[in-house]
């Protein structure tokens, strides 16, 4: 068990632990002892600093940054305290269900599916499932207080949902036209487009230039673009994720996009030696229905 391998706090950290215990304000009805709580803190520190226990001030600062009341609740639930479980059920179950509905809403899930998703973690939270070594461990043991308990539960739901989607999608072809929600369906088809023998070549060149430009982007810029174009998040949601003001998100998206387009145009002109007319053709073909997905072919690791 990780608890056995966790660092033990020196006595110099007693005051820090006492402050944490006070901050957690554990209700007496939960039957959570200070020793149990200290074990949870030690596990958290071990998780953060796996190699060795750092300086006491660093550890104390880390402990103060934890969501201590949430950690205490997880600790008490993991220990099987009924009052703590009742508190958890009463206060987090509606939130789990609400989050499941929101998460499933994009996938078109119904109320029953949301209920299933929201209830799916309980067996693991209770510790009913055996691990590979035969031991039983509550999912709460994996919560170390580095985030809010609500956010952690959201993450669990999101992981389960995304993994389920990806598992089922492996059975389906992603090239199914019905799945291509990103097609510019409102754009008019150009009847003459398939007749142009150069069309595929233009598109391949353009896609290659876009891929190269994206590869050179800073990870944060690329992440911001992906949230916006692929995940359809709003500026406010992206700002929340990246810790930026939504006006900043908007400005940086605009700038990155303009830079990308400039890079693509320069590459098409200078590397591919395309004329302005050919460049216009590239963009026109790109607006139309895509004949193939070169990016997937390029993504050898996928």
């Amino acid at each position: 068990m990780p608890a056995d391998k966790s660092h033990r706090f020196p006595s110099a950290l007693n005051s820090a632990v006492a402050r944490c215990w006070q901050t957690a304000s554990v209700p007496p009805g939960w039957n959570l002892t200070r020793e149990q709580f200290q074990r949870a803190l030690e596990r958290s520190v071990t998780r953060r600093f796996p190699d060795s226990l750092p300086d006491d001030r660093v550890v104390a600062g880390y402990l103060e940054s934890l969501h201590l009341s949430d950690l205490a609740l997880a600790c008490a639930c993991s220990a099987g305290d009924s009052a703590a479980w009742e508190y958890f059920i009463e206060h987090y179950r509606p939130e789990l269900y609400r989050a499941a509905r929101v998460i499933l809403s994009k996938a078109g899930g119904g109320d029953a599916k949301a209920r299933d998703l929201a209830d799916s973690p309980y067996a693991d939270l209770y510790g009913l499932r055996e691990s590979s070594d035969g031991s039983r461990r509550s999912l709460f043991d994996y919560f170390h207080g580095r985030s809010k308990l609500t956010t952690w539960l959201h993450a669990i739901l999101a992981q389960r949902h995304v993994d389920e989607i990806r598992r089922t999608q492996k059975m389906e072809s992603l090239d199914d036209p019905g799945n291509s929600d990103s097609e510019p369906a409102d754009l008019p088809e150009t009847k003459t487009a398939p007749l142009d023998p150069e069309r595929d070549a233009y598109l391949a060149m353009m896609q290659a230039c876009v891929t190269a430009a994206l590869r050179d982007l800073a990870p944060r810029d690329r992440l911001r673009l992906a949230y916006y174009y692929v995940d359809d998040l709003t500026l406010a949601q992206i700002g929340k994720l990246l810790g930026e003001h939504e006006a900043t998100v908007s400005r940086k998206l605009d700038r990155t996009r303009a830079d990308l387009r400039h890079c693509v145009e320069v590459a098409l002109r200078e590397e591919k030696k395309l004329s302005e007319a050919q460049l216009r053709l590239c963009f026109e073909y790109a607006r139309q229905q895509w004949p193939f997905d070169l990016t997937r072919a390029l993504s050898a690791r996928d």
Partner: protein
């Protein structure tokens, strides 16, 4: 080819390229690291490392996106229905197991018979409409009478000069009858409403979203910007209540719900606003202002099991002539966010505290409002008439940091007395994250950050 069509082509290319580029998902962080990254609790080195992974891993990105959606709606719900989201003191729960089975627990939704309470915001609106109509009709008849009197006076052989100038203040007074025009406001939503609606089709509306981005950017770059922050700035750090013992006494002296005080707040607001005060109102109009405020305030003071601060904000804004975006539609606004004009997404900022009953709210004109009863009533305080606050953070119910334009930083340690503390910059500050009365990190408009450990006496730049 029109440039706009090229933009569409570029959008499609980006969407395709970003959607399929992925790395092997073997090194994906677990739920706790994802959650800690989402809560910005990771260290800078850890966050940067995982950001590289997230930028290439579709699976992790999808998970984070799902979390962002769930969190956004949770934030909206928390702002709208603090009493439902609020967590009751643990002492009460831990005192003994409830006899109600788990399946019987009330979900976090209003019962149908209580939903009609949501419509109580109609009461002040209706009252304002009636009052406005009454004042308008009365003014119109008054002006008509004056006009007749003037005609009679003009027909005389030698009219005294005083009689000629007599109608002047009455005309000015009539302007006050339309408070929306004359009320001082710095809200950006009134400044740049688009003339044409944008396309609502999200997948094919990248050009629209681009234009929306441009609008946001132009808004950001256009001085002076309105002093309100976006809804994304609503603090979401509400944690389980850690006791409410000392809370009530601190704010007890601030409780104020009388109509006279509300009327005085209106006058104070107008005096404090940077714009020149409206022309001197006629005596009957002066009398009408407190009436409007009384109606609004008394509505806000209605005790209800599920108070909703944002509607209250809208009601008060309307009463004060300040146009603000309602937070009630924020959930729908999220889904339509990319099709709405950027200006429309800016609204008042509600700052939550660890105590689910205590909220701070930034208002225009250098005001901040405090509620200690879950948003049922609000106490308004004027900090600085020229200040335009943009964001705030309250690590404790009585400790709150506020930042705003031109690097302004305010702090209260008792929920009543505010003091301006030295600022690290004169640039606009758009965010603040405070851990205590002495420890806070502020962020400027250009993403620079400064932190202090001694209540602003010394600041140091952070990455």
């Amino acid at each position: 080819m029109p440039s706009q069509e090229n933009e569409k082509a570029m959008d499609g290319l980006l969407r395709r390229s970003l959607a399929h580029d992925s790395i092997a998902s073997g090194d994906c962080p677990d739920a706790e690291l994802l959650a800690a990254y989402f809560d910005h609790s990771l260290g800078a080195d850890e966050a940067a490392r995982y950001e590289i992974h997230f930028s290439q891993c579709t699976r992790c990105r999808e998970q984070l996106a799902a979390m962002a959606r769930a969190n956004a709606e949770q934030t909206a719900d928390a702002a709208l229905e603090p009493a439902l989201v609020a967590q009751r003191p643990r002492e009460a729960i831990a005192s003994g197991p409830s006899t109600v089975p788990f399946e019987m627990k009330v979900p976090a939704r209003k019962s149908p018979e209580k939903r009609w309470l949501d419509l109580r915001w109609l009461i002040p609106v209706a009252a304002m409409l009636v009052l406005g109509t009454f004042v308008f009709v009365r003014l119109a008849s008054h002006e008509a009478t004056i006009g007749v009197n003037n005609q009679i006076a003009m027909s005389k052989s030698s009219p005294p000069p005083q009689e000629l100038t007599a109608p002047e203040p009455e005309k000015k007074a009539s302007d006050v009858g339309t408070p929306d025009k004359n009320a001082p406001t710095n809200q950006p939503s009134t400044a740049g409403k688009p003339s044409s609606p944008q396309s609502s089709a999200k997948p094919a509306a990248s050009a629209a979203s681009h234009s929306e981005s441009t609008q946001t950017q132009s808004k950001e770059n256009s001085p002076p910007r309105g002093g309100t922050a976006s809804r994304s700035a609503v603090a979401t750090t509400a944690r389980p209540s850690q006791g409410t013992a000392g809370r009530a006494s601190a704010f007890q002296s601030q409780k104020q719900s009388s109509g006279a005080a509300a009327g005085a707040a209106v006058q104070k607001y107008r005096e404090a606003a940077s714009e020149p005060a409206p022309n001197a109102p006629a005596p009957e109009l002066n009398a009408s202002l407190p009436k409007i405020a009384v109606a609004t305030d008394s509505t806000n003071a209605v005790k209800s099991p599920a108070p909703a601060p944002p509607p209250s904000a809208e009601q008060k804004s309307q009463a004060l002539g300040v146009t603000g975006q309602s937070l009630r539609g924020s959930t729908a606004a999220n889904s339509l966010a990319k099709t709405k004009p950027a200006q429309a997404r800016y609204t008042e900022t509600v700052i939550t505290t660890p105590d689910s009953d205590v909220f701070y709210r930034i208002a225009t004109g250098g005001f901040v409002e405090i509620s200690e009863n879950g948003g049922v009533t609000w106490q308004r305080q004027l900090l600085n008439p020229s200040a335009q606050f943009t964001a705030g953070s309250a690590p404790e119910p009585r400790i709150c940091w506020l930042v705003g334009r031109s690097g302004i930083v305010f702090l209260t340690e008792d929920g009543q007395n505010w003091r301006q503390i030295p600022s690290p910059t004169s640039e606009d500050l758009i965010a603040v994250v405070a851990k205590s009365a002495s420890n806070a990190t502020v962020t400027s408009d250009d993403d620079r950050k400064w932190a202090t450990d001694d209540a602003g006496q010394n600041w140091h730049a952070v990455k």
